[in-house]
Symmetry: none
Subunit: 431 residues, 2 copies
C-alpha cells in the first residue's frame, strides 16, 4: 500500500449535501456550486459531489467514502433543530468523536434566539452539540452553528444548508481556515480561474461558431458553453496545472470579447439588471417600466439591485386594457384597431409611461405568455417591446419566443433590459 | 462477513451525474430528480446521488463506490462524441468488460445521423463502443446509445446527459427492464408515495413542535421538514417496505392537516399564487397590487399562473414618493408625517389602488429591503402590508424579516399573498 499523502489531497475536495428533499423532493443542490467557486479561488478543486438523505447511516457512509478520496470534505445541511436533522450524530458515528454541549455555541444560540424574542427549546439546544476536538464556526446570520475538525489527515467541515447562512460562514470562516491550512502545508496552489461571459441575442450554435478555434486543444484551459432562457454563457476555466499565465489567459479573454462584440452584455457575476443600473447611474438617468405580459418581472429584476431606488422611479403592470388606458393613457381605439399585443400599443405604453412619470427613459412590454391566448396571426410567444426617451426617437421591437409561460416572461424581460442597455450604450460618453 | 444479498439491494439506487460543468459550471443536476421520481413509481428508492467531472479515474471511483452500497446504478452523461466524453471507458475500467464496436448500435447511429444529413466521424463512431455483455439501450431522440449490464449482482445503467434523451430512454427502456428484473427477483415493492404540505407564518421549530409525535418511529414513513423564505414544507414519504396502507397514510395526512390548520396553504405542487388565483376565480373577484419594496415581484408571481389575466387587473410599482402620490393618491403630508415605510402609508396605498382601479381587493407593500436605507427605528427588513376591499374593513400588518435584499422581497411577497389568501378564505362559501 502506498503511504498516505494527506498534504497533497488538501487540493482535492468533496461536497456532501444532506437532505431528503434533494433526493426526491424536486430541489437541487446549489450550495455546492458556491463552494466550488470559493474553493477554486483558493486553488482547491471540488472533484466529487455527493447528495444523501436525512439518514444517519447514509451520511456516515458518505463521510467515510469521501475521507478515502479527498482531503477537504464539506457537508451542508442537517444541522437544524428538528428530529430529522442528524448530521451531527452521523459525523460523530463516522469519526468516533463524541458529541457534547459546547458552552460558547449555546450562548451564541441563546443570544440569537433572544434577538427574535425566543428561548431555545430542546431541539434548538441540540444545535449546540459539537463533536470533541472540533472548532465551532459561528453563524453570523442564523441560529445553527457549524464546525470543522481534522480527521485522518482530512479537513471535515459541517455547515448549515440554508444558502445565505452557508455562504456567510464559507466566506467569513471557512476560507480563512483553508488558507492558513494550505500555508501550513507549504502549498501555494494557483487559483482555478473561471472567466464567464454573458451573451444575449444569439442561439448557442452561432455563439459556438463565433468562438470556434480560439482555444487550442493544447492550452490548459476549458472552454464551456451553456444556454439558458436569459442567453448563452461562455466560460474559460483554467486547470490547476500546468499553469496558464495571466497574460495568456487575458489574451484569450480579449479574443472572446472581440468575437462576441455587443452580444456580450456582462462578465463574471454581473447581471443584466446590474449592468443597466450601472449605466443609468453613470448617465444620471431615471427609468420607468410599463409591463403587460411580464407582469412585474422587469420591475422586480431592476429592484433586485441594491441602490436601485436612485434610478427606478416607478412601474405599472397593466394586465387589463382598462389599466393600459387608465395608467398610461393608451387610447381605447388604438387597442381596438391593432390589438393589445401590437407594436403600436407597445409604443403608446412607453410614451404614456414616460410622459406621465417624467423619467429619462421608459420601457414597455406587451405579449402573449401563453399557454392560452394565442391565435394563428398572434401566436404564444409573440412579444412587442417599446422604448421612449426624452428628446430622443422611440423604438419598438418584435420577438417570437419559444418556451413555456415562465420562459417567455424571462426571455421578454431579458430582451427589454437589453434594449435599454443598448440605448444607454449609444448615449454613453466615449471613454 | 454476512452473505451478499443482491436481490434486496435492487430496491436501493444511486445516480451518478457526469460532467465538469456540474462541478464548477453553475449548472445543477436535474436528471437525478427525474430518475428518483420514475424509480419511486417502481418502488425503488434513490439513496445516494453523486456528481463527478469528465475524468476517467473519478468516474471509475464513483462506480466502484456505488457498487458497494446499492443494487441499481444509473450514470448520466459522458456518452457524447467529444474527447472529454469518457463514461464508456471508465465503466470498462471499473467492470473489466472490454469495449467493442456494436454493429446494431453503429447502424442505428448512422441512420440517425443520415436523417440530419451527416455521416459519422471518428468521435461519433466511438459512441457505438459498448462493454462486453451489456445490452444496448436505443436512443429514440438523439444519437448516443445507452447500455445496461449486470455486474456483481447490481444493475449498471448508462444514459446520455441530455435531459430529453435521458428521459425518453428512462421511460421507454429502463423502466421495463427494472420491472422485469424486480419480477424475476420476486420483489413486488409498493410505490414510494410522497405527500407535501406547504406552510407559511411559523418558524421551522414551531412547525416541528406542532407535528411532533404524529409519526411514530415504528411507522414505515419518513417525515421531512424544510425551511425556505416562502415558508416551511412538511413531507411524508413512504418506504418501499413494509408497506403503509393507503388509508393509514391518509390518516397521517389528515393528522398533519388538522395540526397545521390555516398555516397550511397548499399541498403537493400547488404554489401560493395558484391557491390565491383559485380562490379569486371561485369568488369572481379581481385584484390589484401596489408595490414599493417588492418592486413588482408580487405582480410577477400572480401572473406566473396561466389564466391570471382573468383576475389580475393591474399593479403599480411606486418606488419614489412622487409615484406613490401620482399613481395612488397618497397625500404627501402623510408620507412626510409617518414616513414612506409606515402602516399609514401602506393603508393609503391599498385604498388608493382599490379606489382608482375598481377591483374587489387591493394589496400594498412598503418596506426596507436593504442593504441600505435602514435606521434604528426603521431597520432593514421592516415591512408594512395593506389590504383594502370593497365594502369591507381594511387591514395592515407589520413584519420584521431577516435575510438579504432578495430574501426580504421574497418573504414580503409571500406574506402579502398569504394575507390575501386569508382574506379570501374568510369570505369563501362554506362547503
Amino acid at each position: 500500500m502506498p503511504p498516505r499523502r494527506p498534504v497533497r489531497s488538501l487540493l482535492l475536495a468533496e461536497t456532501i449535501a444532506i437532505g431528503s428533499e434533494l433526493l426526491v423532493g424536486g430541489r437541487t443542490d446549489s450550495n455546492s456550486l458556491r463552494i466550488a467557486e470559493e474553493f477554486g479561488r483558493l486553488g482547491i478543486g471540488v472533484r466529487f459531489k455527493s447528495i444523501v438523505g436525512d439518514d444517519r447511516q447514509d451520511i456516515r457512509t458518505a463521510v467515510a467514502t469521501a475521507a478515502g478520496r479527498v482531503g477537504v470534505i464539506v457537508l451542508t445541511g442537517g444541522l437544524g433543530p428538528t428530529v430529522d436533522d442528524c448530521t451531527r450524530e452521523a459525523i460523530s458515528d463516522a469519526t468516533g468523536r463524541r458529541l457534547a454541549l459546547r458552552k460558547d455555541a449555546f450562548e451564541a444560540l441563546k443570544t440569537r434566539l433572544a434577538e427574535w424574542g425566543r428561548v431555545p427549546n430542546a431541539g434548538q439546544r441540540r444545535q449546540a452539540l459539537i463533536p470533541d476536538g472540533a472548532t465551532v464556526i459561528a453563524n453570523p446570520v442564523g441560529s445553527a452553528p457549524g464546525f470543522w475538525m481534522k480527521w485522518k489527515g482530512a479537513l471535515l467541515i459541517s455547515l448549515p444548508g440554508v444558502p445565505w447562512e452557508m455562504e456567510a460562514m464559507l466566506r467569513d470562516s471557512v476560507a480563512p481556515v483553508l488558507s492558513s491550512e494550505l500555508t501550513r502545508a507549504r502549498l501555494r496552489p494557483s487559483p482555478i480561474t473561471r472567466l464567464v461571459f454573458h451573451t444575449f441575442g444569439l442561439p448557442e450554435a452561432e455563439v459556438d461558431a463565433k468562438i470556434k478555434g480560439l482555444v487550442k486543444p493544447s492550452m490548459p484551459v476549458d472552454l464551456g458553453l451553456l444556454a439558458s432562457p436569459t442567453g448563452v454563457l461562455v466560460s474559460l476555466t483554467t486547470r490547476p496545472r500546468p499553469v496558464l499565465s495571466g497574460p495568456r489567459l487575458q489574451r484569450l479573454a480579449d479574443g472572446v470579447r472581440s468575437r462576441l462584440r455587443d452580444q456580450l452584455y456582462a462578465e463574471g457575476l454581473e447581471t443584466m439588471e446590474e449592468v443597466v443600473g450601472r449605466l443609468l447611474t453613470a448617465q444620471h438617468k431615471t427609468v420607468a417600466v410599463a409591463e403587460s405580459c411580464t407582469g412585474g418581472l422587469i420591475g422586480h429584476r431592476l429592484t433586485q439591485v441594491p441602490g436601485s431606488s436612485a434610478y427606478v422611479d416607478r412601474g405599472v403592470v397593466c394586465y387589463s386594457n382598462q389599466a393600459k388606458t387608465d395608467l398610461l393613457g393608451v387610447p381605447p381605439a388604438l387597442i381596438e384597431g391593432h390589438g393589445a399585443v401590437s407594436a403600436e400599443v407597445a409604443a403608446a405604453m412607453a410614451r404614456g409611461m414616460r410622459e406621465r412619470s417624467g423619467v429619462s427613459v421608459a420601457l414597455s412590454v406587451t405579449g402573449i405568455a401563453g399557454p392560452g391566448g394565442g391565435t394563428p396571426t398572434k401566436p404564444v410567444g409573440l412579444v412587442y417591446l417599446g422604448l421612449d426617451a426624452e428628446g430622443g426617437p422611440s423604438a419598438t421591437r418584435e420577438y417570437r419566443f419559444s418556451g413555456d409561460r415562465m420562459v417567455v416572461k424571462q426571455r421578454a424581460s431579458q430582451a427589454a433590459l437589453d434594449l435599454l442597455r443598448r440605448w444607454l450604450l449609444e448615449r454613453a460618453e466615449p471613454v
